[in-house]
Point group: C2
Chain length 394, copies 2
Amino acid sequence: MPASDVVEQPEQPWSRRRLRSTNERLLLDRLRALGAASRAQLARETGLSKPTVSSALASLAAAGLVHEVGTQAPERGRTAVLYAPDPAAGYALGVDIGRGWLRVAVVDLDGTVVARADIRNRARASAALTDLVVSTARQVIANSGVDPARVVHGVVGTPGVYDEKQRRVRYAMHLPGWGRAGLVDGMRTELGVPLEVHNDANLAALGEYTYGVGAGSRLFAYILIGTGLGMGVVSEGRLFTGARGLAGEIGFLPWHGRQKQERLEDAVSGVAVVESAREFGMRGQLTAKAVFDAARQGHPGAVRAVELEGERIAHTVAAAAAVLDPDLVVLGGGVGHSVDLLLRPVRERLRALTPLRPRIAPSRLGEDAVLLGAVATALDTARDLVFERRTAGT
Amino acid sequence: MPASDVVEQPEQPWSRRRLRSTNERLLLDRLRALGAASRAQLARETGLSKPTVSSALASLAAAGLVHEVGTQAPERGRTAVLYAPDPAAGYALGVDIGRGWLRVAVVDLDGTVVARADIRNRARASAALTDLVVSTARQVIANSGVDPARVVHGVVGTPGVYDEKQRRVRYAMHLPGWGRAGLVDGMRTELGVPLEVHNDANLAALGEYTYGVGAGSRLFAYILIGTGLGMGVVSEGRLFTGARGLAGEIGFLPWHGRQKQERLEDAVSGVAVVESAREFGMRGQLTAKAVFDAARQGHPGAVRAVELEGERIAHTVAAAAAVLDPDLVVLGGGVGHSVDLLLRPVRERLRALTPLRPRIAPSRLGEDAVLLGAVATALDTARDLVFERRTAGT
DNA sequence: GGCTCTAGTAAGGCTCCTTAACTTTATCCG
DNA sequence: CGGATAAAGTTAAGGAGCCTTACTAGAGCC
């Protein structure tokens, strides 16, 4: 899954150099996980000796990866100098290419957003869309005031699956022309930032896991219900992608609909809510949001449509639960937004369907899940890159 | 899921000692993966220097982990001394507790079986069963001629899921009394071998992955169809267990059977084949095997029952495929045995159900899958243990 | 027998870690 | 206010382990 630009170290032998580097990495990770700490403290926690910690930290500081952030007086004794990772040592780029919106964010190594843009995606051709992505990203980087050269990695979220070999996005039904080969390569060279591409549901899962309600879950599933139906799975902190990156394509789950060829995706996504509302007697220009609003007002047809949607979501959750055994399932996406109405019917129906009942929760990040997932993924690589390059030129 | 006996190293700091140990491990793994090799060859492949390889290998040899296994003359130049891992440096125990059979095997570190027993499991109470397991294991170890102290680790496969906290097996429907707490601890102390317990379908998957048709698969699913219905998933060589070890409990997949409360397990397992055969007009004392045999003879009722079973398996495979995206699905277990008849209907039905069509293959290991999976899992830990202990007493 | 090529060993040096003692700086207490 | 105590951090000495270089050992070829 790494973009081609991400160089794989050719399996360095375990020489002394690597020992030093491993210890520096150990300290840096410790600082990132637990926040600022003094050298003596780090020595105690890592088991390294004080002199070693001092020298490694000095070398990290020289490379600009850590810096002093203050002091702390212990109960008695000399005041300690605290060190913390320097968030400005590098930056990462996150992009969410959705059907309706394009979102771009630049974050520092701490993960704090330093600049961001959300603009409507009105592009109706792939060329216009890549242009929009590139110009928006440039704009956001410029706004952040960050030297573009310090943006070391980027991750793009999009419907569909990126095929590394064919260098194109596949299965992106809802974006016209988006399957053409070389689009991503074009953006990469125009931006001058290494880019990785991932499925939007997968990234949303990772975003919700890193910044949202998924934190600490051992096996976490994020179900994205909107224009389409998708699922992202995070297993022990890592994205679960399957053999070809198609894991979580639950739109293809077996489903006995009215028509022979109906797919689960058509039965659960936003369109289906509108359809069933119409069958239950609602009239006029309907959207999924309108149906949910009407249900909140007590409109009987809308209520029944929501009930039905809840049952179908329960069916989906039950299937995922039987295969994956998640401890937490989060509902997100356009329809997932109306979780207040859906949660009860989903849970009730689930009780009838299966003894495996994972915790079900609404998304905390909402529309930002994909973008934040992209950012989190990019950060992972960016942190590695910045560390690897610490010895090379500035 | 490591048993409590398996001590976790308390996160050694990265001192030189660990460097040495890591290099020794690197060499040992290389030898295990590629077979015998000379020191010069190892130096070239690992990037370590010849002196380092020599000294590390000498230390491994002193610990009894590797030994000379012959010589090899290069095209020209001095003949090289070949080194290989010593398979007798330790042994592992595998146990498959099935409803019908109890299987036990002792293997050396190369994975070759040095002793084995397959005996009928007629125990109808948990105490009788643990006694049987312990006495059989003792017998097998005795037969192998191996010093019992050198059997460093064991893995037990059983239906259900082992709950580490409650120290008991849960969800083991088909073994009477098997859910009592402390049973495994009892066997462990009686045998004097650290024991881990895993779900049988999971182990079968790992067995088929390690020794069977699953080799090299990125995401591999093994569906066990017999008395019950289960699935094991191997993702990038590691068992995928879910949050609580219940991943692959596909007996709980949503299913619209005739009766309201029918579960997929009841619709797919061996009993279901008999049932539908009876509905299609077969008479007499039926077993799943008998139905399949009749279908091979062309009995129309049996043929239709098999066809139906194939469709239901396809439903199962389709659900698993949509969630996991496996590149290979293997059918195993009692019913899976008759894959010759099932493969065509499964594939045909799958074509109609979903565009995701993983490769489907019959099990190569058959009844041995669980045992071999247990053995493979135990070996993993045994190799670690033997390596860790190399510095301690003999 | 000499040449060449490969396997393996020996010696010396380098890097990096640890231990132990020491300095610095703070609080506590008489 | 000055000494005892304690913690942070530095300096110095020693050692473990790896690499490089240079060498020896053995095998085939001319």
